[in-house]
């Protein structure tokens, strides 16, 4: 074995010893989650203590009833004790009611807060973050992992405190009975500690793997259900069923490892307990025979042992829930610890309301991070777009047009140089304030489930039905919306599949128009709209573009020709710019693009 191997092994062991990483951090995290509800948490503990204490009462009360009532032939004492007995039962009832209710309340509230926290965090992450991660894995964090925490919070907290209270009480009772026997009993602790340590080392990875495999199942489900049309069209169902079964198998295996570990651990805890009983019996018995302790003490001590071992058993049972909850929390915090690449300014500059809409690219270079290094997308781009101008970006696939648009919307920050709006560096304004004055119509019109009206008023929820109708008419969407069973109130299915691609695009146009942005970005937005419709919405497009600064990525000549300026990109650089006629005159890059066009269209 080389020394490097030895080292990595030691590191691995150390990592496993810690069980899951940053335990202190996670416990603190849990405390922070519970802090807003501390009054309820305190009330819950009061209910818990009352309930636990009352539930301990029946045994001594019964003892009293037998000794002082039945054996002493004192019926009225018996009756009173029975009354106390029933009262203690009622107390347990009330205590358990409040404790169950409050635990449920606090637990559910904390989980709700956690979900909102994850959601908010996800919203703060830049678009690039989502491009690197399967959606399903993110979803799994907010569903499966939070569910795992649910059982930790609601079931375990109660057991934890109940068992701990009982354990402490029992320790005191045992010590009062006989110190020597108690110390023998406590020999169980180091044994348990070593056992639990071994269990933790063995299980640290196991629980993490169960979280990861369920995450992969979720991700696979998400992807194969999103792509269900492709699956159907190519008749590949059996294959997906097979692949899914393989992932399912991995998940089962990961769970089986935890089942095996648990199968060894819990009975072992019980076993150690019964060994301790044997020790006490033989050692204490011998002492009793020798007369060093009374038989009564021995009997009482052995009876009290149950109160000692039961909570230890319960606590060890809890350890699984704890492990899997902690593994889930680990994954959740991992996500919450992700820092957005785009840093929001702490003291953002206020944008003019409304913006003039001047866009400046000042020596902008941008490279995407890829698995192995970076990929240059824009190379030292310098450009000034005066307010109100429509700029068409033209160039081959991969020339950097979409990157250009993404930098304007600050989906990314430039690697070098600055992007300015109205002379203000985008890094100095809050992206929200920027995007409130910016409209983007992407190539694929993503619609949310809900009504068509909801989708159109997405950027401006205050817009009334008349305003929505106007916008729809302007972009030529009214014809088809009017014919839907409930017009604007028609529900659209998951991602609006019941609308055609072109109809979705028209809705996306109307959405941008209603938002009334100062800067508009059309990313290949008209490609899904047929000519017939496009000619109809030409007027709408013109209205959409009028008075706004617009960056248009288009392949349609008609759209490009309308723009005030055409910028030709190639390999991330601006190679040419000017109006349509100027560029044709110049017979440069645009001219040859144009010729290609002519040829392909003719071919």
């Amino acid at each position: 074995m080389t020394s490097a191997e030895g080292l990595s092994r030691r590191d691995d062991l150390r990592r496993r010893l810690r069980g899951t990483s940053g335990r202190g951090r996670k416990l603190r995290g849990l405390v922070i989650l519970l802090r807003p509800y501390r009054m309820r948490v305190i009330a819950m503990f009061v209910a818990l203590v009352v309930g636990t204490a009352a539930s301990l009462a029946p045994a001594p009360l019964a003892q009293q009833a037998i000794d002082n009532g039945i054996l002493a032939k004192d019926i009225s004492t018996l009756d009173w004790i029975v009354v106390a007995f029933v009262i203690s039962g009622l107390l347990v009832w009330v205590g358990t009611f409040f404790q169950t209710y409050l635990t449920g309340w606090v637990g559910q509230r904390a989980l709700q807060d956690l979900r909102l926290q994850i959601f908010t965090h996800l919203q703060e992450m830049p678009v690039g973050f989502y491009e690197r991660r399967p959606a399903g894995v993110l979803i799994s964090r907010m569903t499966n992992d939070v569910e795992a925490l649910d059982s930790l919070v609601t079931d375990s907290v109660v057991t934890l405190f109940q068992a701990s209270l009982t354990l402490i009480g029992s320790i005191v009772i045992l010590l009062l009975f006989d110190v020597k026997l108690a110390l023998i009993t406590f020999l169980i602790f180091p044994v348990m500690a070593i056992g639990s340590l071994l269990f933790r080392i063995a299980s640290a990875d196991a629980y993490r793997r169960t979280r990861e495999t369920i995450g992969r199942i979720t991700a696979y489900l998400q992807e194969s259900l999103s792509g269900i049309r492709v699956v159907r069209a190519f008749a590949q169902e059996p294959r997906h069923v097979g692949e899914f079964a393989a992932l399912n198998d991995l998940n089962r295996d990961a769970n089986m490892v935890t089942v095996k570990l648990n199968a060894a651990y819990f009975p072992a805890v019980e076993f150690v307990s019964s060994l301790a009983t044997v020790l006490v019996l033989i050692f204490g018995g011998a002492q009793a025979i020798d007369g060093q302790v009374t038989v009564g003490v021995l009997v009482g001590f052995i009876a009290a042992l149950n109160g000692f071992f039961d909570p230890i058993g319960q606590l060890s049972q809890l350890y699984t829930t704890y492990q899997s909850g902690m593994a889930a929390l680990d994954k959740i915090f991992e996500l919450l610890d992700e820092q957005p690449d785009l840093v929001e300014p702490t003291d953002p500059v206020t944008l003019p309301q409304p913006l003039h809409g001047e866009i400046t690219f000042d020596h902008v270079t941008f490279a995407y991070r890829t698995q192995d290094g970076t990929k240059l997308a824009l190379d030292d781009v310098d450009l000034n777009v005066p307010p109100g101008q429509t700029v068409a970006l033209v160039g081959a696939t991969g020339a950097g047009k979409s990157t250009f648009a993404k930098l304007v919307a600050r989906f990314y920050d430039p690697t070098e140089g600055r992007v300015l709006v109205d002379g203000i560096d985008l890094r100095d304004v809050s992206s929200r304030a920027l995007r409130e004055q910016m409209g983007i119509v992407p190539q694929e019109g993503f619609l949310f489930s809900g009504t068509i009206g909801d989708n159109i008023s997405f950027g401006n929820p205050e817009a009334d039905a008349a305003a929505l109708e106007d916008a729809c008419r302007a972009v030529g969407a009214w014809d088809f919306i009017d014919r839907l069973p409930e017009g604007l109130d028609t529900q659209i299915g998951e991602r609006g599949v019941q609308l055609s691609a072109g109809q979705r695009q028209l809705v996306a146009f109307a959405r941008a128009l209603v938002a009334d942005p100062r800067i508009l970005i059309l990313d290949e937005a008209t490609s899904n709209v047929d000519l017939h419709t496009e000619t109809k919405i030409e007027e709408g497009l013109r209205r959409l573009l009028a008075g706004r600064t617009a960056i248009v990525i288009a392949h349609r000549l008609s759209t490009i020709r309308q723009s005030g300026r055409i910028v030709v990109l190639d390999g991330g650089r601006i190679v040419e710019q000017g109006t349509h006629d100027e560029l044709l005159e110049a017979e440069g890059a645009y001219f040859s693009l144009y010729r290609d066009w002519a040829q392909q269209a003719a071919a």
Partner: protein, 589 residues
């Protein structure tokens, strides 16, 4: 109850495992119950001052401990295997069923809803079938045995002491009746939450573009609040019923103390019998309490099961008849006969009485306004949907009479926003034929004009495509999709707006690719650009789901006002055509 019985059905393959885990659990219980008894005998030896006897009983306790240890380990292994097996089977069954359902089902289902069922709901079922069930049986058995022992000992007192038992059962039942719908609604709302999360993650670009984070957060907060409210309804039921179920047996204890105590006092019962009776009743307490908890678990499992069965019971609407023959050999002739189709929830039919006859090898362009039914029409071919009226024939055979897989193997679709899986480029191209050799994949890519850019990817054909292929540009994705269709080697090809999202020079390459793939196949082209329409031999014009014209370009210029309008309004796109009259002739315009 029917749902419950069906859930039990999933245990059938594990019958022996279930029986074993029950037997092992009982034996382990016996071994652990034996320990206090043996300890008691050991103390008797202490009283008798018998060192050897004491040691022997000590050893006996240790042996019982070892036995209980071994039995518990075995029970946990067996029960764990059963419970994971059930989860595994259920999840596979569920997924396989989803894959069997027709596309129309997914139009109306949120992906997140289905995901929630396959994960959260399934785990509820798993815990119950794997662990809960054995404990329920065990608890019930303990109750019955202890009750029997009590009745044998003192029927009168037993009757009094056991009075609460029927009430406990009744209340537990009542709890079940009320808790199940509450639990089911919790699951439903968690599924809604999952769906909302899914939608927000998929639509993150739109949310960010419109700076609507706060609104989405507000909506999500509403959804989490709905989960909270419903969880609290369930919690309130639990908080009310669980302690009640725990309290009633304690009344039995009180009755024994009160009545039994009096009998001991007036001498009609021995103190020994009384103590034994009381101890027995104590033994009833914990199974009764856990019965309440276990019933709650059963309710959740049944609720989750109901949600699973809701999907599993939905019979696939598009199925080939049993033993349907495969699609006969042919060269891809297609006939639509008086086809009418309406989507669920829409009044106006998407297609109305459409008839088209396409000889094998022809290329047909479908032209019409947005929403006129072009995509709907071609989706009938691979039977993604079935028409309400009329028939679709491929090579003279009604598509509904042949095995669906064989039909779909004969048809390939390339659409406007091709969906790629987050696997390697190679796997995506070989999607329809996973067994294709690397050479075949490369040939397909070359012919689809994709080889060039694939070679420049960091790891060539083995480059993994990011989530939903976002790292490839629209034009690149399209070419991968064309290569995919290529390798499928279909007799019918459907190009749904396949060149819309690419720029002119890329379109040139894609056109070259398309011409390669179209050769010798029947092709349907849905296009908005005249340049793409020019690929076709004949043109079908659709308006509002009806076929209004069908013919060659020249015929339609004569016959169809709508087509003429499309051509004329499309003129800005063809400025160059006037500049290159020779090529214009080639295009047939």
């Amino acid at each position: 109850m029917a749902i419950f019985r069906r859930l039990l059905g999933f245990l059938r393959p594990y019958r022996s495992g279930v029986i074993w885990s029950f037997v092992l659990a009982t034996l382990a219980m016996v071994a652990s119950v034996a320990i206090p008894w043996l300890v008691g005998r050991g103390i008797d030896q202490v009283r008798a001052h018998d060192h050897t006897g004491l040691r022997n009983y000590g050893i006996a306790v240790a042996i019982a401990g070892v036995l209980s240890f071994g039995l518990s380990v075995a029970r946990r292994l067996v029960a764990g295997r059963v419970s994971l097996g059930v989860e595994y089977d259920l999840r596979n069954t569920f997924y396989a069923h989803l894959q069997a359902l027709e596309l129309g089902f997914f139009d109306r289902q949120q992906t997140g809803q289905l995901m929630s069922r396959a994960t959260v709901d399934l785990q509820g079922v798993r815990f119950f079938l794997g662990y809960g069930l054995v404990f329920i049986v065990q608890s019930a058995l303990t109750i019955v045995l202890v009750a029997a022992a009590m009745i044998l000992m003192n029927p009168g007192l037993a009757a009094l002491a056991l009075i609460p038992v029927p009430f406990v059962v009744m209340i537990a039942q009542r709890y079940g009746r009320r808790a199940r719908p509450a639990a089911q609604e919790v699951q439903q709302r968690i599924a809604e939450l999952t769906a909302e999360v899914e939608e927000n993650i998929s639509g993150v670009r739109v949310v960010k573009a419109f700076a609507r984070e706060e609104r989405q957060l507000g909506r999500f907060a509403g959804t989490t609040q709905r989960v909270f409210d419903q969880a609290m309804i369930a919690t309130r039921l639990q908080a009310y019923y669980n302690p009640l179920i725990g309290f009633l047996p304690q009344l039995g204890l009180a009755v024994v103390l009160l009545i039994g105590g009096r009998r001991v006092v007036n001498g009609s019962m021995s103190i020994g019998d009384f103590t034994a009776f009381y101890t027995y009743l104590l033994r009833l307490l914990s199974p009764m309490r856990s019965l309440g908890m276990l019933l709650g678990m059963a309710q959740r499992a049944t609720a989750a099961g109901a949600r699973l069965f809701e999907i599993l019971d939905r019979t696939p609407r598009i199925v080939a008849p049993n033993g349907a023959p495969v699609l006969p050999e042919g060269s891809g002739a297609v006939r639509f006969e008086h086809v009418t189709l309406g989507y669920e929830g829409q009044d106006v039919p998407a297609l109305h009485d459409v008839s088209i006859d396409v000889p094998a090898g022809r290329t047909v362009a479908l032209v019409g306004a947005t929403g006129s039914g072009k995509t709907t029409l071609v989706q009938l071919l691979p039977r993604l949907y079935d028409p309400i009226e009329g028939r679709v024939l491929v090579d003279g055979v009604d598509v509904r009479t042949v095995a669906t897989a064989s039909l779909r193997e004969a048809i390939a679709v390339v659409d406007d926003a091709p969906f790629l899986f987050s696997t390697s480029v190679r796997e995506n191209i070989a999607y329809a034929r996973p067994d294709a050799t690397f050479e075949e994949v490369e040939i397909a890519a070359r012919r689809a004009q994709a080889h060039g850019f694939i070679e420049h990817l960091p790891e060539g054909y083995d480059t993994r495509i990011g989530e939903r292929g976002l790292t490839l540009s629209g034009g690149q994705r399209q070419r991968v999709a064309i290569a995919r269709a290529f390798l499928a080697d279909p007799r019918i090809l459907i190009l749904d707006d396949a060149t819309s999202s690419v720029d002119a020079s890329t379109e040139q390459e894609i056109k070259t690719a398309l011409r390669e793939v179209m050769a010798g196949r029947t092709t349907f082209v849905i296009a908005h650009r005249l340049s793409t329409i020019a690929l076709a031999d004949e043109i079908v014009v659709l308006e509002d789901g009806e076929l209004i014209a069908h013919g060659t370009h020249d015929e339609l210029l004569e016959l169809s006002d709508l087509y003429r309008e499309i051509v004329e309004k499309g003129l800005p796109d063809q400025v160059f055509l006037t500049r290159n009259p020779v090529e214009r002739e080639v295009a047939g315009l």
